[in-house]
Symmetry: C2
Subunit: 145 residues, 2 copies
DNA sequence: TATTGTTATACTCTATAACTATA
DNA sequence: TATAGTTATAGAGTATAACAATA
């Protein structure tokens, strides 16, 4: 804790804390998902595809926040693993709709469990109420314009 | 908010929230520090040097969490701006002790103010108590082994 | 022999530009 | 003419390996 009047320690700077919290959780998630053959970025795509409406590559790219050219390689890899499948949209043949295969559906379910366990482990230093408030605060902060 | 039984929305995943909170704060900090000619990474180095003990390039690199080879270019740039100075440690001539120049001391003071304003803006959606609890929780999480 | 700073090099990640096929 | 996917290319960022000076 910084002494009044002194320079705050680097570790007390919000930017440092947020960055390292992100790094820790990401690396724990990568490790937890590794036995399933995917990483946290793949998981971001897969859990999007586990949702209700089918999505084109471009829509997925926008949701994740990467370029559509970056999405190509991501989908290539997942398709190579047999967990997703590209299908030309019959109503607009320029678009690829990406769908989970049955193996993909199964993978997403296992990945959700693995990721949930990682989150629980990460939040373990907090009480249930603290963890809830923490995520609530985070949502408010990220919702900022 | 996720409906019970449904897949949680991507935006509710802790990893997503942490990553985007970090991105938002970092980019706000870069913008706030830009008029001073530095970015948030430079600021991390400078505020370390504003502390009590002098540090070698390697020590700074370790504190920041980058390789010592990466530190070279960072210090090059800051030295080129005239805000830090390399000095060979007379007690171990292999080491470069990096010190703030008087212009550097001045810069750090202004940068601390600018960064503090950015943090305040970022935390604005929270009440003072919520912001305090949020940072407290973050410290606990990052302190994990 | 080990360590600090440095340089050269390579690797990862991602975006920009250009091409194709469709619209 | 504009858009989705693709490919090739380039840029940022950072690490690994090798070298000089010093311990």
């Amino acid at each position: 804790m910084p002494t009044p009047g002194s320079h705050p320690e680097p570790r007390d700077v919000l930017g440092y804390l947020l960055k390292h919290a992100t790094l820790q959780l990401t690396s724990a998630a990568d490790a937890g998902l590794n036995p399933l053959g995917i990483d946290s970025k793949d998981f971001g795509v897969l859990r999007l595809l586990g949702g209700s409406e089918p999505r084109s590559q471009q829509e997925i790219a926008e949701s994740i926040g990467v370029d559509r050219t970056t999405m190509v390689a991501l989908i290539d890899a997942l398709e190579g693993q047999g967990v997703v499948q590209r299908r030309t949209d019959p109503r607009d043949r320029r678009r690829n709709v990406v769908e989970l295969t049955s193996a993909g559906v199964d993978l997403v379910q296992r990945a959700e469990k693995a990721y949930a366990a990682v989150e629980r482990g990460f939040l373990e230093p907090l009480t249930a109420a603290q963890a809830r408030d923490f995520q609530r605060a985070l949502r408010k902060l990220v919702a900022q314009p």
